[in-house]
């Protein structure tokens, strides 16, 4: 299972990287989305996928899955939600203001001298 997950995560990172290297703003943002998906799955995998039940305490169950990675992921999800929303609105505003969604057209080297 971990092997499978590691590969899935690898592929998610791969796709994310590919998207982030493209020119279109939307594709780049989608890339960051995949990136955080990959990262979240990775936390879960790294906590160990050993069997066990849902971490809701009850008297019947003896073993639970590791709850800590879940808590971390939850925090990470919320944070990346915040960042993604901000990024989306920023992209929207930039499009309005700059009239392009091509990152390569946003080099802005004219002020670099």
């Amino acid at each position: 299972m971990e092997l499978l997950m590691a590969i899935v995560i690898g592929i998610l990172f791969m796709c994310a990287t590919y998207l982030m290297l493209s020119k279109s703003m939307l594709r780049i943002i989608i890339g960051t989305g995949l990136l955080s998906h990959g990262a979240h799955l990775l936390i879960l995998t790294m906590g160990g996928l050993k069997g066990g039940s849902v971490p809701l305490l009850s008297d019947e169950t003896a073993s639970y899955v590791d709850p800590l990675p879940q808590a971390l992921i939850l925090t990470a999800i919320v944070i990346s939600f915040g960042v993604t929303s901000f990024l989306l609105v920023l992209a929207y505003r930039s499009y309005q203001e700059l009239g392009t969604d091509d990152m390569e057209e946003m080099r802005g080297t004219e002020t670099n001298e």
Partner: protein, 493 residues
């Protein structure tokens, strides 16, 4: 248990919240921010002296003791940096009153300013790796907002790049934490250190160490991860730029301090050598940038990169002298960079341009500005007795003692180039004949100069009275060199 430890974070949090409620009343916002900043300085001073007299202070938040709950750890290094941050915060705040503009003030500039301080102070104080990530995000989110606030074209454009690079670096942060958790099963820095020491840092941990270097290196703008910095720092208004230049990269550096002295110090032959090379390349690239441009903002921005390289080089040398030097230099650089940004801000406002070739002759009408800049400039270049010197001297001595003569040579030569670059500003900005009329009427030069003068004065004092600072510095270094002190304080063993 010591709740004082966390007050430098909690205090700006409450201030920020309060400021949200009074967002429409600008005068009141200013007064509240100012008052809060002053209290913040008092609090952090008290923290520094408490740590000095009692040793490392810790706080298990929520009564959960380390390593299970989040623990806040104020050691000397963190406390000193918190104090410096608050001082810089106050100065930049004062400067903002006269330069940030009423529109930005109305749109949550002050609350977000406080939130940035939360992130920075929190990152210094936390003893938990994942919590560090959270504070990084607070700091970053605040920086995104400050960067884009105003919504001019260049701000929008550069914010996009800045945010995307940082999202990437945050993802790297998360995965490195995940890897580390897999190997060590904990998130508490002290316990991480303890556990790494127990297994003597096997190969996989060296890999993770390099991974963390990428994460923090991106924040700290080391070579070759620095490219995002010049553009993004260039875009926002001066106070924000000063805030970024003085604080943000330093949080990255602080994290490298923590990870490379507290946790991954068992394979120095590999990790620290790697760090040393990157540091020297960082210095070189910073130097190249600093002499390439005629744009004063760019010149100072690239000087940030040089300083990052110098400090990191000190960390990589990892002996007592070099580490003391790095800490001294870090604090010095925070103060003086903030001051320099504020000063060039005035110059730019006066001349209406940031191109040196369009400037000149400022010294005649504004001698105070000129001489403040001059002192700041030579402090930056490390001319004794000003603040940059003692740190640089110790780094050089440390490097010499560990036999890294190439590093010594590069650091020495970089000082010359730093001097060259800032004296270029002095010579073309202040000397010579005025190119065009100044907009004196629109710029309250003296009011804007006060915060810069405060910073420069503190930095001069910091340099001349190094002896007074030294006990604090050596206490900080003692902890860095003996992780056991930190571990014992946190895990109470």
């Amino acid at each position: 248990m010591n709740n004082l430890t966390f007050l430098p974070v909690l205090w700006p949090l409450f201030t920020g919240i309060l400021l949200i409620f009074i967002a429409k009343r600008i005068k009141l916002q200013r007064w509240v921010s100012l008052f809060s900043s002053l209290i913040g300085i008092v609090l952090s001073m008290y923290l520094v002296f408490s740590v000095h007299s009692q040793g490392i202070l810790t706080l298990g938040v929520g009564s959960w003791e380390a390593p299970f709950g989040i623990v806040i750890v104020a050691d000397m290094l963190a406390s000193l940096l918190v104090l410096t941050t608050n001082i810089i915060g106050l100065a930049i705040l004062l400067y903002s009153f006269h330069s940030i503009g009423i529109e930005r003030e109305r749109h949550y500039y002050y609350p977000v300013f406080q939130f940035l301080l939360i992130g920075v102070n929190g990152a210094f104080l936390t003893g938990d790796l994942f919590n560090l990530f959270v504070f990084f995000e607070v700091m970053l989110m605040a920086s995104y907002v400050l960067l884009v606030l105003g919504g001019t074209k260049i701000q929008l454009r550069e914010s996009l790049k800045y945010i995307i690079v940082n999202v990437l670096s945050s993802s790297f942060f998360v995965i490195m934490v995940a890897y580390l958790y897999s190997v060590l099963g904990t998130l508490n820095m002290a316990q991480i250190s303890q556990r790494i020491a127990e297994v003597n840092q096997p190969a996989i941990l060296s890999v993770i160490a390099i991974g963390f270097l990428i994460v923090f290196g991106l924040k700290g703008a080391i070579f070759p991860l620095f490219q995002w910095l010049p553009g993004s720092y260039y875009a926002p208004p001066i106070p924000v730029m000063a805030l970024f230049g003085a604080l943000l990269t330093k949080v990255g550096i602080y994290s490298i301090f923590r990870t490379y002295t507290l946790m991954f110090y068992h394979d120095q032959g590999y990790t620290h050598t790697f760090l040393a090379w990157l540091a020297l390349l960082t210095i070189l690239i910073g130097v190249i940038g600093a002499i390439a441009y005629w744009d004063i903002k760019k010149i100072i921005i690239y000087n940030i990169i040089i300083a990052v390289g110098v400090i990191i080089f000190g960390i990589s040398v990892m002996n007592e002298q070099a580490l003391s030097g790095s800490i001294l230099y870090l604090i010095h650089d925070m103060l003086i960079k903030a001051a320099l940004f504020l000063l060039i801000g005035i110059m730019i406002k006066l001349c209406g341009s940031d191109d040196l070739r369009q400037m000149g002759g400022l010294i005649k009408q504004y001698p105070a500005l000129a001489w403040t800049f001059f002192i700041a400039a030579i402090s930056l270049a490390g001319i004794p007795p000003f603040s940059g010197f003692a740190g640089k001297l110790l780094i050089l001595q440390g490097a010499g003692e560990s036999g890294n003569f190439l590093g010594m040579a590069i650091v020495l030569l970089s000082s010359l180039m730093v001097l060259y670059s800032v004296m270029k500003i002095f010579m073309y900005g202040f000397w010579g004949t005025p190119k065009a009329g100044y907009r004196s009427a629109a710029v309250p030069v003296n009011k804007m100069l006060i915060p810069a003068v405060i910073l420069v004065a503190i930095s001069v004092l910091f340099g001349v009275a190094t002896e007074f600072m030294y006990p604090f510095i050596s206490q900080a270094v003692e902890t860095l060199l003996n992780p056991d002190i930190y571990i014992k304080a946190v895990l109470k063993e």
